[in-house]
Subunit: 337 residues, 4 copies
Amino acid sequence: MIVQLEQHITDEQLTSLRNKLTELGLKITEVKTQKARYFVALGRQEFDIRLVGKQPGVRDVHRVTDAYKLVSRKWKVHPTVIDLGDDVRVEEGGCALMLGPCSLENEVQVRHTAEFLASKGVKIMRGGAFKPRSSPYSFRGLGIEGLKMFSSVVRPLGIKVISEVLEISQIREMYDYVDIYQVGTRNTQNFNLLHELGRVDKPVLIKRGMSGTLEELLQSAEYVFANGNEKIILCERGIRTYEKAYRNTLDLNAVPVLKEKSHLPVVVDPSHGIGIRRHVTPLALAAVMAGADGILAEIHEAPECALSDADQTLNFDEATSLIEGCVRTLQLRQELL
Amino acid sequence: MIVQLEQHITDEQLTSLRNKLTELGLKITEVKTQKARYFVALGRQEFDIRLVGKQPGVRDVHRVTDAYKLVSRKWKVHPTVIDLGDDVRVEEGGCALMLGPCSLENEVQVRHTAEFLASKGVKIMRGGAFKPRSSPYSFRGLGIEGLKMFSSVVRPLGIKVISEVLEISQIREMYDYVDIYQVGTRNTQNFNLLHELGRVDKPVLIKRGMSGTLEELLQSAEYVFANGNEKIILCERGIRTYEKAYRNTLDLNAVPVLKEKSHLPVVVDPSHGIGIRRHVTPLALAAVMAGADGILAEIHEAPECALSDADQTLNFDEATSLIEGCVRTLQLRQELL
Amino acid sequence: MIVQLEQHITDEQLTSLRNKLTELGLKITEVKTQKARYFVALGRQEFDIRLVGKQPGVRDVHRVTDAYKLVSRKWKVHPTVIDLGDDVRVEEGGCALMLGPCSLENEVQVRHTAEFLASKGVKIMRGGAFKPRSSPYSFRGLGIEGLKMFSSVVRPLGIKVISEVLEISQIREMYDYVDIYQVGTRNTQNFNLLHELGRVDKPVLIKRGMSGTLEELLQSAEYVFANGNEKIILCERGIRTYEKAYRNTLDLNAVPVLKEKSHLPVVVDPSHGIGIRRHVTPLALAAVMAGADGILAEIHEAPECALSDADQTLNFDEATSLIEGCVRTLQLRQELL
Amino acid sequence: MIVQLEQHITDEQLTSLRNKLTELGLKITEVKTQKARYFVALGRQEFDIRLVGKQPGVRDVHRVTDAYKLVSRKWKVHPTVIDLGDDVRVEEGGCALMLGPCSLENEVQVRHTAEFLASKGVKIMRGGAFKPRSSPYSFRGLGIEGLKMFSSVVRPLGIKVISEVLEISQIREMYDYVDIYQVGTRNTQNFNLLHELGRVDKPVLIKRGMSGTLEELLQSAEYVFANGNEKIILCERGIRTYEKAYRNTLDLNAVPVLKEKSHLPVVVDPSHGIGIRRHVTPLALAAVMAGADGILAEIHEAPECALSDADQTLNFDEATSLIEGCVRTLQLRQELL
């Protein structure tokens, strides 16, 4: 059960409500986010929930039978809008483009890419400063200095920054230089990291685990929300299957199903989803048609020379097709559905 | 190596060519289809293939390193067109719609559906007379009498028939009443059945195995082609993964990858691909955007009452959206790509 | 609900029972096997089943809530014994060894292998005459003549024959030359084939589908039983997963779970289960320890020269270790569990 | 290429070796562990490696073509022995038992379990103080105080402690109270955590990722080794597949294959591997037969009351069977293989 509290609930009312819920045999988790206050109350709920709804200081009460609660669409039917400022939003009904290199490499690379994106009207740029690599001998990114350079180059162009966070100590370090924290597929169930990201007032994009279920993804989002941060974006990026003709199997079923289960926006990463450069754009457009609220894709001025993910990265011409295709496909989707 | 023969190659030339290839240490499979004659010659090919190309009676020679040969796009760059007559085609660049019930139930059902399809310009109707059911106690279809009724009702409306064949003895029995034989996901590797379908001059649609790789699907198509039938359609219908939020995981990666590997048309079945009625249409449109040459989907006048697959079957209103959406999406795809 | 009938139930009693069950709203499937007669009655069962149990001609009545009925252990707690005659049995508590080549190749091969097996006390020999091959260009077996040779060589040595059947027309053809029909992983859901195998009075070994669930395997066994043949052996042979370090992933969880769900014996094929020759024996012994009632494995006098499955086939020395290891492991299992 | 250095290599020799390798176009990672010093040198190695072998200060040189290097069996054929002191070892040829509750709950629970284990001669006890839970509302363990209690109770009984570490900040905190750090399945690719565990002189047990490949597991172990810690144990604990009849699919193929690829000991967790209490022991014994160097399993005085993993936890009687069975099975394996 989710109990939405009044903005100005008094301490006395809080205490009385806690007592009431405890009396009813419920276990309470108190949640205070940027936007509101909630009690998540768990336990057998064989009573009339209006009993709780009538308590002073309570705005509304919802039963949510899903394993996840606060991220469920069962209680919050209006979709969550992620507002990055300057009229940049990730939200249902739109298609936010988040393009850029897999790894930040140097200032020239970043500048050229950012200028290209600015010229095409793309408002969010991705770029990894901390790279999770399966081998300890691989390039692991430019680190925090790279991220500082990244943000100093792209923000003056009106572009927002999304970059991956790998561990708790980086959250604070990265804070001033990112607009969206990205949680990678290997950290979808790094609950301590998610917990800490709940304490930050910046949006968090969570990628689905390499073989994660939708329910696990939503539970991971619940960690962030339950610790105080409502600004969450879900990302489908392909799952691991027996098929080896591609890097991953992009699961577009996830798009309409996640959007039905949750009020959070859902974006798709076709670059990792198929891992083959020449097929990224058709799958991006398919994702938009399936209802994606945004596309996260890898681009590079010279993909052949990229320090990571060269095989799945688009050059600027290909990126132009992707961008224009997404715009046109979104229009059609809006007309049709 | 594929050796394409001249239409009018003489017996003498054939013998001499066989000898030549055998001398070169190759194992020959002789293939005669509706359209042409070929030798598929396997073995170490450390010689100048022009040696073979110069033999009398030989039209062209191609090295194909794939495990499958005749269905590969490496030797036949022009896509295969499946011409069903009366201007009905399944082919690259189009989007053939194949709609209808999971199971044929009775004449009224068939007639209403066929009339609906005719009114919408849909030219191919699906409907199962022989149903593979995991339980021996489930409804297993109307059988051959149902198929006869099906074809007698829909053909006068200018609609072609696609229906599933489960075993060799049904091939002959069904011949007069189908325009496309459908091979289901449980029979993708029923090689004896595929072998016999190679001896029939009617198109064969092969569904990907429940957990089949693309290479296995292409090898299955190779069985049909190598036994004499070039008229093959490939079908992606969702694969089995760990995710249980939907019946199967529709794999749209397969669409561009299959089309690149093979000259055969590729259609998508979103009904089985997700198994949730309200999400079938968005995924159908996504499939079209990903490059599908057709959509195979289940519709029923009253899905709630369907004898099988009720949960994933569209009603006529929903089917109308699907049909119109596919048309519009195909137009956009043609403009963009 | 399973209604076991008396051996000598009269036609009158049958009619009266049918009427009774129909009245109760049940759909009846009448099953007559080598051993007994049953009615499988499906439908809402909101009545006292003793009502049915008291009918004349009824021996016993069991509610079975599983999707499969006759193969369930819920009604038949005593395990099924497959008696091949001459004191050769596949049964709970034992460990039947079924060894031999993947493909029958020639008489010398068969004779040497059979003599080796006889010298080791192995009573069942495997060998494929009809081979399902993913490529139409691969060796597809010696066919029925090979099977005749096989049985004529090994039976005089007191060895029973197991061989794979691929299609309905082969059932009759093979009948005189096999003691167990093997249904391969690609045919686990070839329901028409299973149906016909239900009409034969010889044991049927059914391999789990390449990515088949245990429930699907049991449903496939149900097809055979429901059509009249109680002599069924289940076989775990590895499933398809994302892991590519081995051909398949042997799933030994399946052994205790299948044995708990069903009264049928369960054997394990470690050759296909891992596909790496030097690891076959440890996994065979692990399977015995997990409770397997038998081991099906590939052996060859010179595995390097085998026409198929060379990489996973044991030579005679290795087979000797496997045989002796299985015997010792079975003893230990009997002492411990 | 792995360059093993002499214990007493001089700084001068180091510099000269670095220069030599750099000249040869190699990228060097310098590794200093508890036991030895190495250079891991990557790059095209088209030269006679004896060139390097002859350099002063070099003990030996090995080409390793695997993606992982230091954990490969290609250069270190003698298996790694994990010596916990007091004659407690995890090593090839033995079967180390690591039993205990999923979660530490209170002192009575810990004491009873430890006394039971001591009475059975079990030398390593598991117990989680920090629990990764998919829901933020679940019990997340007693934390560091629980771990302190755990070690203070069990160490006086001569029992070693294994417990899970979830994040970097816990490594130091836990140091005095654990004998083996456990890295859970959700952290197998938490490279920052692995990196830090490389800097600690305590053994690290790494569980295979929920859908991790063997190569990924070995790469994760490489992170620990390459950062200075040679004391690593690998753990198979079941993988995620399409089969839902059990929690995970225990993959015993992994045991012989990992042991062949790496010199590290391999243990198996049958509790998570099947997730069904009554089947844990048969699978544990199967694992031993497949070659496991140890068993990690969950036990509890009253599994019904356990705060987590109740369904897969053995009571003391069941644990007694498991312990005795492992001992007997190990004996048999030693005789047979």
